[in-house]
Symmetry: C2
Subunit: 452 residues, 2 copies
């Protein structure tokens, strides 16, 4: 139902833009919800964007820049006049404004910040990296003091509420502004008016430090089902709150990052990023793959004599390399995701390794026997069957060891396992695979030559 409405609006807006009727387009855009506004805006041509934006209400422009993908928002902001940019920034949430400023050229960011009345609200966020808890928090929350009464808290809330991004969980501080508890709006509403906040609050409050990574904050929120997570400094002073919508964004970002890295796209980018940017991320990775494939090529070249004498060996390369590559990928996928979700802690590395070796052994016996039978049936050579089968068994065990050890090792070295594991594991399984297979073939060459 909603989806259809958006599609219809989209079509109407495109018609208005084709007719160069900017006013009508602006009216149609303003009737949509912010995420839909941003999606639609992102699909326009650059000159259409530049013409449309000044026609929109400032608040809608700010919403669009907040919801657009980072790179696109920065491109749009970079093309705005300084006056336009300043007025839009002043409508944005301070944390979002800081993120956008961080994506602009330093000169342009400094210029905008100098003109901006709200600069003092935004500056604290520039201190924390984009991907830290501090960079994610909002400061627009309502903070209660522990010696307020419930009635005082509610009137404080009534006065402040219109600006607050989150009022359903209210954090409580003491006179030194240290975080000491949390009280829900529900508790506040049902409490006797004269009770003090200190009495009704829950002192067991989960918080995160501003310099912690955003993933730490997201894991805490998802684990303990909290919709608002307070951020404190090293001394425990309350700084801000990370809200539910930030959590969802971080979880999607981190999952996308892992998926892209496992797929050999080292830097996350939206599916429709400009071609040069896509090439800059993907080409170096292919060249790196090329260089690691050279290692296998060198191993193969050692055995050229064997291949020349028994060319049928080459026909089994895709099987030996392909199956152990797949098995290695399975092991590393389970291990990388287990590490990311905290199911495997680095201390349990040996247990994971043991499991994977057992799985590799069982799979190796099953697949090895199957491959040996296929080789025998296809080529009528028991010797070939034995070599191919034994190589497969050994390779699957090696693949399991590499698939478990590499991600755990990288995690210990503080390298993202999702980034480097696939290429390392593939290099290991390929190189070891060819070496074992052709090594066994070379040892048994006198028999293989006769029976081919």
């Amino acid at each position: 139902m909603e989806r259809q409405d958006v599609d219809i609006a989209l079509q109407e807006i495109r018609d208005a833009l084709k007719a160069r009727d900017w006013d009508r387009a602006a009216v149609l855009v303003e009737a949509l919800r912010p995420p839909d506004q941003a999606e639609l805006f992102g699909e326009l041509a650059l000159d259409e964007q530049d013409r449309l934006l000044p026609q929109l209400e400032l608040e809608d422009s700010a919403d669009i820049l907040e919801k657009l993908e980072e790179e696109k928002a920065a491109e749009v902001a970079q093309r705005l006049s300084p006056a336009e940019l300043t007025s839009i920034l002043s409508e944005m949430e301070p944390d979002e404004a800081a993120d956008l400023l961080g994506d602009l050229t330093p000169a342009r960011a400094a210029q905008a910040l100098a003109r901006l009345e709200e600069a003092d609200e935004i500056r604290p966020f520039l201190v924390y990296p984009d991907e830290s808890a501090g960079g994610l928090m909002t400061t627009a929350e309502v903070v209660l003091h522990q010696d307020m009464t419930a009635a005082e808290a509610i009137s404080h809330l009534r006065a402040a509420a219109p600006d607050a991004e989150t009022v359903y969980y209210l954090f409580v501080v003491d006179w030194r502004e240290h975080l000491v508890g949390v009280v829900s709006l529900r508790q506040l509403v049902v409490a006797p008016p004269r009770t003090s906040i200190g009495e009704i609050m829950d002192a067991d409050v989960i918080s995160v430090e501003a310099h912690d990574d955003q993933e730490v904050a997201a894991r805490l929120m998802s684990r303990y089902d909290v919709v608002a997570l307070p951020v404190v400094d090293a001394q425990g002073h309350m700084l801000g709150v990370i809200t539910h919508d930030d959590l969802v964004e971080v979880l999607e970002e981190e999952a996308t990052e892992d998926i892209f890295r496992l797929g050999g796209v080292p830097e996350e980018h939206p599916a429709d990023v400009a071609l040069p940017a896509a090439l800059r991320t993907r080409l170096p990775w292919l060249v790196l793959n090329l260089l690691t494939a050279m290692v296998s090529a060198l191993v193969l070249s050692i055995f050229e004599g064997t291949i020349a004498r028994v060319a049928v060996l080459a026909a089994f390369f895709p099987i030996v390399a392909g199956v152990s590559g797949s098995a290695g990928t399975q092991s590393l996928t389970v291990t990388v995701r287990g590490l990311a979700l905290g199911e495997i802690s680095p201390g349990e590395g040996w247990r994971t390794l043991g499991r994977e070796v057992l799985i590799g052994l069982a799979n190796g016996v099953a697949v090895g026997v199957l491959i040996a039978l296929i080789a025998l049936a296809w080529r009528g050579s028991p010797a070939l069957g034995l070599v191919v089968g034994a190589a497969t068994l050994l390779n699957l065990i090696a693949a399991a060891i590499a698939g478990a050890l590499v991600p755990i090792g990288l995690q210990t070295l503080d390298v993202d396992p999702a980034l480097a594991s696939p290429i390392l594991v593939t290099t290991i399984t390929d190189t070891f695979g060819y070496f074992v297979y052709l090594g066994l073939a070379t040892l048994t060459i006198s028999v293989l030559v006769q029976t081919r």
Copy 2:
């Protein structure tokens, strides 16, 4: 800070269990938060679990079964006495109880349901599949009628609140129980007491149908930043609400499912599932890989004569197959994730294909020239360099086409692109790669033989 507390508690509980002091262990478990209780419980041996559970408060037992991984919870429940199971089920949220019942053997589930007083609350959830919006919702929400006043709504809320999982967004129905709007607790608190709900509610409410997939619900919630999504039947009757914690769970589940499927582990399972279950998921996939690798093997066997005459060709197999495999994986990763996040709609398939072909062409020229130069430098043969370079260029274009077309095609056929794309794309790039490479080599064999 919190993490350390959990670790310390964990150590103490292990000590208590070693001393077989079940009372002390129970006290220590009950001091923890439910997610920590569940994690710890899941790490115990089966006999320890069976001894500990009866010592815990029913509410804690219910929390633990709700938070445990599905398979583990079902195993524990399966071993409980019927009386114990019934009392724990009656403490669980109805939607969670239904999920657990669905994981038990039918006989055991029927037996528990017959004994259960709350059976009528649970039964509606059994109608909807586990992974549908209806299977995810909770019915314990407070529903307001549009002709209540704000004051009536607040006293209704005071009376009902203790049982409500979500009270921050309240959904409004008309006299036929049709969903007509939403009002926030904040709006209710600040509204003049005698205003009617119909006046202050927001009629523009996003909802989902009970039979829709849980992923549809999660996308809506994440796109529009809502912490509670109402679920309706086909006629628009209000049935229940999907809450924030469910959303987070679904997002993590769906991301994990995609990551596992892309990594050749067709069924998601926790990193420490029992070995036979792990083998049941992984082995059939390896066998399928083996069969598809046979296609490449058949192609290679056609060219055995060529390989026997110029064995050096084999040394470049890992490079030709490896690099185009990586490029295909890049294309399919970007396409699969773009489809999952809704960045690519199936209608935009041709645009995605066009982009990927251009990227494949650019990468192909760059990597092809590099490989040709490496072959020339290493083997001193311009002919070999040309064959390897040209094959790489053509393969990278083919990889790009396959990487974009296969996931889009699967999506159109309603097959999960993450599940089948990697194996199909690899089969295509491998088979095509060997065919083009050895085909070119066979065509130029007279030159290659001279210069090797």
